[in-house]
């Protein structure tokens, strides 16, 4: 494979473009509301109308506004305005064709000029909803694999690391560790072999950012991983993806096969001496396997439990070799940074948090779905403007970020710009990007209890503070919630939270008390009201 071959694929792909593009969302959200039947019927309707030369129907990835699915977007050469139809039923396919021909329809149409869409800045999701995730040509036509070519043919590994460092990209898995620094550490570690792992074990309640990237644009991940592998000197990669994501797994398998066939993965990629293979490892569904040491144990075929760090994976990871572990969204940022340069990326976002962040908006909010916004966008803008606020005249009370490791941010702090530091300062965290909006009807003790129940169920049981502590905390929260607790129980709750946080072995236990801390900080009166 050479650059001109890539460009030839791009040319053919563009030449074949028909005047009308009908894109039907086939990501998990829309599929679950029947979008496969919608797409099949659209195909059939186009055939029946004899418009196959003019209209091309394709299954694409997530178009963001998941609550209104199935979504179908129509782009016409003759009409610059794209149309986004929502809640499309299989029997609506003829109406969609009619709408293309300019006839009146009663199909529900979404306003693409509303803030939910216009405020977004897609980098990670730039191809999501545009390309067919099951066709590599579709990705290549959007400059796909050009970053990898550039890296392999024009850059030294150290230059790649430097570019990522200069871009200011930080880990999107939640903790926000500088990506360039992590890469540099693994690059410098000595080992006969090195590994690259993509952590696709997303499991926070209410979070579906990574799933969307995997389902909508899998090649972006493969390209990012290959660039990382070249930068650190690895020749084997693993994608650890949860079994609950069958569509993502299927599309990843397809993508890997296609990339191998074109010589974009495997031996001597782009006729360079660089070899890189990627294999998928399917997790059996344990939340703790998102923790890097537990994840590696699981890949090694052992029981997925964490072990103390140091040694860090960068030094001694998979089977004792230096290993780079990054999250899906982190890898998804790599190819654009290479293509457009570190300065371009560093120009987006805030001083310490660069680029954009994908959030999964859920809960009591009008527009639930995916958004990608520049770092530094305020919670107010996200919840009220983009999310459209609470439906039926309700008032937003708090937003939960960071999943079970995060916390609840009260409405009074919605002016806060979203970046790693300010969320931590509020007692929450960025996490992987779940955002659950709560309204006045939500009881915050219940919220804390829900997340503690999650941690209790997902604790691996290895260390005592997490195994026993989460059970004790859950029981105390239940006691409070049931109105059977006394002041002493609240004190014990706080004491145990402190102990579990500081003595647990891994991140799951260390952060399990966070939802309790943050609800106690901002909504203490709700706890007190329940105490006898």
């Amino acid at each position: 494979m050479e650059l001109n071959e890539l460009l030839e694929i791009t040319r053919i792909e563009h030449d074949q473009t028909k005047p009308v593009q009908v894109r039907c969302c086939t990501a998990a959200g829309c599929l679950s509301s029947g979008s496969q039947a919608v797409k099949d019927n659209l195909d059939a309707a186009v055939k029946a109308a004899g418009l196959e030369d003019k209209i091309h129907v394709s299954g694409v990835g997530c178009m963001r506004l998941c609550c209104q699915g199935p979504l179908v977007q129509v782009d016409q050469e003759s009409n610059k305005e794209s149309k986004l139809f929502e809640q499309v039923k299989p029997e609506d396919s003829v109406k969609v064709i009619d709408a293309i021909e300019g006839k009146e329809t009663n199909l529900k149409q979404q306003d693409l000029h509303q803030p939910f869409f216009t405020r977004q800045l897609p980098i990670v999701l730039e191809n999501s909803g545009k390309i067919d995730p099951e066709r590599i040509q579709s990705y290549i036509a959007e400059n796909g694999y050009q970053g990898l070519y550039q890296v392999l043919r024009e850059m030294k590994p150290s230059e790649v690391v430097e570019t990522i460092t200069k871009s200011g990209l930080r880990g999107r898995g939640g903790a926000g560790y500088p990506t360039g620094l992590k890469w540099a550490t693994v690059a410098k570690s000595k080992g006969d072999k090195k590994y690259v792992i993509c952590n696709a074990d997303e499991g926070d309640p209410g979070a579906f950012m990574d799933r969307s990237v995997l389902e909508s644009d899998p090649h972006r991940l493969l390209e990012g991983m290959a660039i990382a592998a070249y930068a650190i000197g690895a020749s084997q990669g693993y994608i650890y993806v949860r079994a609950e994501y069958p569509i993502a797994i299927k599309r990843l398998e397809t993508a890997i096969r296609q990339a191998q066939r074109l010589g974009l993965l495997g031996s001597q990629i782009f006729d360079s001496p660089f070899d890189f293979k990627i294999e998928i490892r399917i997790g059996a569904g344990a939340y703790v396997c998102g923790e890097e040491t537990a994840l590696m144990a699981s890949i090694e075929g052992k029981r997925g439990v964490p072990h103390p760090r140091p040694p860090y994976p960068a030094e001694s990871g998979l089977w004792g070799y230096p290993t780079l572990i990054n999250n899906v969204e982190t890898f998804a940022n790599i190819a654009p940074i290479i293509r457009k340069g570190a300065d371009w990326f560093a120009g987006i976002g805030t001083e310490k948090s660069k680029g954009t962040k994908v959030f999964a908006l859920a809960g009591k909010i009008r527009n639930t779905g995916l958004i990608e916004v520049p770092m530094g966008t305020t919670l107010e803008e996200i919840v009220q403007e983009m999310g459209g606020g609470v439906p039926d005249g309700g008032i937003a009370k708090a937003v939960q970020t960071g999943g079970p490791s995060g916390g609840c941010i009260p409405a009074s702090a919605f002016a806060t710009p979203v970046d790693y530091e300010s969320l931590t300062a509020l007692g929450s965290m960025m996490g992987s990007g779940g955002m659950i909006v709560m309204d006045q009807t939500t009881n915050m003790v219940d919220v804390a209890r829900f997340f503690m129940e999650f941690c209790m169920d997902e604790s691996c049981g290895k260390c005592i503070p997490c195994r026993v502590g989460t059970v004790q905390l859950h029981d105390l929260l239940t006691k409070i919630s049931d109105g059977k607790a006394a002041q002493a129980d609240l004190e014990l709750l706080e004491e145990l939270c402190d102990m579990v946080k500081h003595t647990s072995l891994c991140g799951l236990g260390q952060s399990a008390p966070n939802p309790v801390f943050s609800t106690l900080k901002y909504f203490r009166d709700e706890y007190l009201a329940l105490i006898r």
């Binding site: 344990a286 029981r303 439990v305 072990h307 103390p308 209790m456 169920d457 997902e458 604790s459 691996c460 049981g461 290895k462 260390c463 005592i464 503070p465 195994r467 026993v468 502590g469 989460t470 059970v471 004790q472 029981d475 014990l492 004491e495 145990l496 102990m499 500081h502 003595t503 647990s504 072995l505």
Partner: protein
């Protein structure tokens, strides 16, 4: 081999560079409580009793797996650490059914010793009263899961010293438990060599010799250490 100097509780000590804080402390006569640690088998850092404070590091680190470093300032006994340790022991007492008076290991139990050391006079947490079983299917030994604290010493000693790997863990969180083979009754295990190392390794009365009555259970730790030293250091003296 380079030697490192560090302070533990203000006392200057020297240690070999490959030593853990726990080993260095023990050599210097500083006692750090542990439960999952067992000399001769690998450490897992799971019981969190040996957590220590190190100047300049925000997190508490387990002494059993933390290597010594030059100039390290370690505190093993702050009020905060003592409080956490006591809570850990209380949590164990609340989790299982540890009624010393009817336990075969009464008087020879590390959990009991630690409770006494921590000055624990009652359990201030809710008892969880889990439904746990007893397996007496083996000819010579038995396991009472109610007394198991999930330290995994038996798992490690069976795997690393005996090489049988009869024991392993199953279940998650509060449902974690040790199993023999693929969760078969111990007596039907095809891999168990009946060597009894697990029984000797157990810190409580969970694993015991059948027929031993209350207070009779003596753990012979020396055997495990002897095998470890014989294999790794070629020292054959008991």
């Amino acid at each position: 081999m380079t030697v490192k100097t560090l302070t533990i509780n203000g006392q200057m000590i020297s240690a070999r560079e490959d030593e853990t804080l726990l080993e260095a402390a023990q050599e210097a006569g500083v006692h750090i409580p542990t439960l999952c640690h067992l000399e001769g088998v690998g450490d897992v850092g799971a019981c969190r009793l040996c957590l220590v404070e190190i100047a300049g590091i925000n997190k508490l680190l387990p002494a059993c797996v933390t290597k010594v470093a030059e100039g390290m300032e370690v505190n093993t006994n702050s009020d905060r650490l003592q409080k956490y340790r006591r809570t850990i022991i209380e949590m164990l007492f609340a989790e299982g059914n540890h009624i010393c008076s009817v336990c075969v290991a009464n008087g020879n139990c590390e959990l009991q010793d630690l409770a006494i050391e921590m000055g624990m006079d009652h359990v201030s947490l809710e008892y969880q009263n889990p439904k746990r079983s007893v397996d007496t299917s083996h000819d010579r030994f038995a396991i009472d899961h109610n007394r198991c604290i999930l330290c995994t010493r038996c798992v490690r000693v069976c795997d690393e010293i005996e090489g049988a790997h009869t024991w392993d863990m199953a279940g998650r969180g509060s449902k974690s438990h040790v199993i023999t083979d693929l969760s078969q009754p111990w007596g039907t295990s095809q891999t168990c060599t009946s060597c009894g190392k697990c029984v000797n390794a157990c810190p409580t009365g969970a694993l015991f010799n059948k027929g031993a009555s209350v207070g009779e259970m003596v753990h012979d730790r020396g055997k495990i250490n002897f095998l470890f030293n014989a294999r790794t250091k070629k020292e054959w003296n008991f």
